[in-house]
Symmetry: C2
Subunit: 344 residues, 2 copies
DNA sequence: TTGTATGCGTTATCAA
DNA sequence: TTGATAACGCATACAA
């Protein structure tokens, strides 16, 4: 189990270590024959260069990382695939890091950049509400993906997302247009000031614009520990039903929540959409195949992912300054929502 | 953008670097006051130790990798979480590598071990039908997870899984017990000789044991390019329905396929389980929340994942020889299946 | 209890 | 085209 080092190879080849290094790293100034000979010995000796030493010395490891918070958010899986492809095309390597739901993704970012000498970071998910000084500590370019930039005082963050406020408004507006006046909402935890807050604010405004008074009793927050999962949607909906607050539509601010909600409603003997209309957000596959299929706001995953990668490389090459790019979501009407008139 | 190093901290604290090192690594021989002071300065200076340097010095880059094939298989997400936790507890770091559906995972493994100096590998997913010489090229211990070992001639592989044959048999036996005699099956592509084959063989045997003749017209294979996704289940079921072959139950060899199937059946005007019973395999969350909830074989994800990690570390430490561990799945009867008598 | 000096395996710089 | 050698940032044996 003894580790073979570059020195062992050098000795075996009767050359200097730097020559071995050159052979391995495709350096131009080396005799092809020497190179071939060395490579052959390397292959025979099953020598493997030590990456820690490499990274320590080398500062140009062309690699970026995707930091994913909340892997259960199935929405991200597609994003990652697309991003990986772009990254690969740029001859960069790409490491995926899952960060715990409760962990701080910025701290993770700082640490991992140090360790792996990354050239850039992509943040996927998480509640992006970090103080500017903290963000400034990230020593490489980064892009916040699927969450609108929260440029808190300092210079703007690079971000790629839909306009959560506008898209959320679209959905609530649609539900109101269907004749619903008692629309319950499941949203992020109370102190969220990220996308959860935006989607909630839009809900409020849309109601207002339809002349519907805002009723706090219809607003249900996830708790701090809840993730955007089926289970959370199910759990919160159970709580809603226990309260016996009357409502004809339920707007779950994620498709996963919406699906959990449908299940809870079904178990309570309620039919979607005949008794209750349910709407989600994101446009994940599961919502399309669910019965009833879930009315949702579809985020343009491909575009978002492609632009995220593109922007990061622009930032790395210094071609561009951090900015927010906003894409349009799409209201996808499916089976889970229904006009209130018909509903009765 | 300059990196803060341990020397900067030492200078700022007016102590030696070793003292700083001691402070960080909870060494016993250090004055608590000094330690506190140093830790404070570290926090203020947003210093992050360089892990490459650490690993280099410790000469033990304690890291393993999880190679995941088919990320859309939601089943794996939970597994990864559990494995990561165990790995973290062992003070190892853990990198996750997605491997393309069509790529060769063993080649990927060999490459990545070389590159990252891994101490072990966990294979998640993929069709494990690789020649023994190929496997032997992997220079570190590895565990094949969720797929039974295919010890092809050589010494046995380390694997952790359920007995796909036995579990699949359980399901088909259950369906037969419900009175179904025309049971369609959606299974892996024709030339699969991994879990797809096992599950199919069990189907055959179970039918036989119930005195039901095997009808090839009821067997539907995925194609080479299909993944275990909702979309595949949907697509194949559409094809089944076009054939107008009569059947009263559909056994989809993955929950994702089952869900896609339910959708297709619904669109054909068929109700599950009243017209057709549908069964899946795996026990993913989505199946539990689906309407109707999916009858399935639940794989003991936690156990599988925990044992996978445990086994890998046993292998790494040389405490154990590669072997197969088999866990029991559980038949979970839910809403998507129904007795044929009642069904009529 | 603390500081100094050495080496981990590599790459890059320089001189040969 | 090569080889010796100095970093890279850290942990630690050893000296103080």
């Amino acid at each position: 189990m003894e580790q073979v080092t570059i020195r062992d190879i050098a000795r075996k080849c009767k050359v200097g270590v730097s020559t071995v290094s050159r052979a391995m790293n495709n350096h131009p100034d080396i005799n092809p024959e020497t190179k071939e000979m060395i490579l052959k010995v390397i292959a025979e000796s099953n020598y493997v260069p030590n990456n820690s030493a490499r990274n320590l010395k080398r500062s140009n490891a062309k690699a970026i990382a995707i930091l994913v918070k909340g892997m259960d958010n199935m929405f991200f899986n597609n994003m990652i695939s697309v991003i990986e492809e772009v990254v690969r095309k740029k001859k960069y390597s790409c490491i995926i890091e899952r960060v715990e739901e409760k962990a701080n993704e910025v701290d993770s970012a700082i640490e991992i950049v140090k360790e792996k000498r990354l050239r850039g970071i992509i943040f996927l998910g998480g509640n992006f509400t970090h103080p500017h000084e903290k963000m400034a500590q990230i020593p490489v370019p980064y892009v916040i993906s699927t969450i609108g930039a929260v440029s808190d005082g300092g210079k703007p963050c690079a971000s790629v997302s839909v306009d959560d406020y506008r898209e959320s408004y679209k959905m609530v507006d649609y539900l109101c247009g269907l004749g619903h006046r008692r629309i319950a909402i499941i949203t992020a935890c109370e102190d969220d000031i990220s996308i959860g807050r935006l989607r909630l604010n839009a809900y409020r405004q849309a109601l207002l614009d339809h002349g519907i008074p805002y009723d706090p009793d219809l607003v249900f927050h996830m708790t701090k520990d809840d993730t955007y999962s089926f289970a959370t949607g199910y759990k919160v909906t159970k709580e809603i039903l226990e309260k016996k607050t009357e409502f004809s539509a339920l707007y779950a601010t994620a498709d996963t929540l919406a699906i959990g909600a449908c299940r809870a409603l079904k178990e309570a003997g309620l039919t979607v959409p005949d008794d209750i209309s349910v709407a989600g957000f994101d446009g994940i596959d599961a919502g399309e195949y669910y019965i009833p299929s879930i009315t949702t706001i579809r985020q343009p995953v491909e575009q978002l992912a492609a632009e995220t990668a593109k922007m990061l490389f622009s930032l790395i090459s210094g071609k561009e300054e951090p900015c927010s790019k906003v894409y349009d979501g799409e209201l996808v009407v499916r089976e889970s929502t229904k006009s209130r008139i018909a509903q009765q």
